[in-house]
Amino acid sequence: MTGADVMAKCLEAENTRVVFGYPGVAICPFFDAMSNTDIDMVLVRTEQNAGHMASGYARSTGQVGVCAVTSGPGATNLLTGIATAYADSIPLVCISGQVETDQLGSDVFQEADVTGAAESFVKYSYLIKDVKDIPRAFKEAFHIANSGRRGPVLIDVPADIQKAQIQSFKYPEEVSLRTYKPTVKGHIQQIKKAVAELTKAKRPLICAGGGVFLSDAQDELQSFVERHRIPLVTTMMGIGVLPTGHELNFGMIGNNGCIQATRAMSECDMLIMVGARVADRAVKQPDLIMEHKVLVHIDVDPAEIGKNVGPTIPIVGDAKYVFKDFDTIDFDIDTSEWVDTLKGYRKLPGGRKVPEGYIDPADFVKSLSTAMDEDAIYVADVGQNQIWSCRNVNVKKGRFFTTGGMGTMGYAIPAAIGAKIADKKRQVVAVCGDGGFQMSMCELAVLKQEELSVKVVVLKNNYLGMVREFQHFNLNDNYEMVDLPDYPNLKYLAKAYDMDYIRLDKKEEQADAIKDFLSEKGSALMEVVIDPLDTVRYASH
């Protein structure tokens, strides 16, 4: 048996169902061994997207997403995928081929020190120098990736190690890592303290982040929120922890958030942050906004607590366990007045004016997501399209994916493909701008190759809209490096990839177009023509 056989067996032992990857000489022994397994192999078009597909897969299933690439450029191409997963705390195991052990450090063809390059954005990495270490490294990697604060783990395997012979395979049953024992159960005294503060609070608020999904705590959170009628806001990564139409969900906070969420944040007298890291885009001046408030910060990563703002009551633990413990304590609070105030903010005047011949992206997102299946997955890319999506998406029992941490353009299509492969029965829609779309449109080929039905929307404004908007507000309309001419022609492009194509530029056709688009049997591409000069700023919910 070879090292590559052992790697394949490790993935079988971890119940890996699919590997996203791209070959090269240094990873070929591994791919060769994988042909003896039942694990699906998905050939991507560029390595970065193997990382994003694994991310979409992991977010949809809660299991570790796996990708495999070759050494040198294969590995460096994957770095953006790894960094994106790290910023968004997504569990991945990334396998890279490496040059032969005796050539390490000699700058041979396709050699790159990938463990060194990735060090600051992996949870951990391995450079395997002995074939006997493979099972332990894989066992640890899967455990590390999908426990505590989730994140990517990199395993770099030199080609000679993949080819090396080994007598037998034994997968370790347990992980023994003396340096890694994440605290999942919150300290009960801290939880009691938080409850004591809650009973005193007049205007309590919960702010939920992506960590709630990662610990699969949506149900626990919802029952807590409903039982005590505590209003909730979310970060970008937390959209959909409660259905967006839930009466106690007041939307996304932050500089791109909705008015009622922002007001809730500034007016509450007690804030429970859970699975959210108080990042700059969510809370601009943490110390200022937290003045005169009781702050409870719940996070599985102790380093996040107190990093950007000093909490009154820190609770280190996994959200699911913490809310289960909250649930064991009886207490009564009356928030009816506060909830009514917040509901009033929903009615604040807003409204958008869109010129003739263009579709209003905010209204389009609302209609599209409302027409989607109950459990559908909506994947937003990065840029203006993302902000319109975040503010207007209607998440029912489904999910909303986007990269809130890293903001990597081109994320939506590969992440949607990963999510579709995770569950082919589930409706998956990717919404991009014309910039992000062109960063990963090569992956449309994968849709056909894997016989997937993914719906792709391009909100087309012939600009890199978010940057153009920045230049509009900050650089006196000096539109430099943001023009996207009308190429590629999306109609022909859809034809080239054998996809159905729909163009939408008339408001009155919107409802029917969305209906047709979602009911297409195969993959479909929808071009939505929007006003090039539209901005997300000042545009209200």
């Binding site: 600051s120 450079l127 340096t179 102790p302 380093a303």
Partner: protein, 160 residues
Amino acid sequence: MKKIYSVLVENRSGVLSKVSGLFARRCFNIESLAVGETDDPNVSVMTIVSSGDMRTIEQIEKQLNKKLDVIKVKTFDEDMSICRELMLLKVKYNKSNRREIMEICDAMKAEIVDMSRNLMIIQICDRPERTKMLIKLLAQVSIVEIARTGTLALSKCENE
């Protein structure tokens, strides 16, 4: 505020770069860093002297603990610890200043450990502020080379 971090780490290849890389990437300051094996050959100890405001100091400890190769972090103040630094100084001397250099060494409890016709190596093992003082005192002599361990520290027995 100055802090000393005594960090037990797995003695694996790349661990020094992981820890020093963490300081660089998060813009934490390193005043000195010393590494050596412990009584257990699988474990090394890093003694890192750093400084920063309260939040930085707390973050350093938390981020160190987050590294999977870090076994244990002990953080303490200088006055809670016994600190020593070993320093070797190669200096150029001549007839006119030889006497003075020897007097300085005497006063500082430094030792001359090697000598040629015009060069000598002075060794001092003392508290970091005293090694600094010796450099200052020998500044008028021409210092050719310096090698120092950086601060080594253990928290005082009474604090255990």
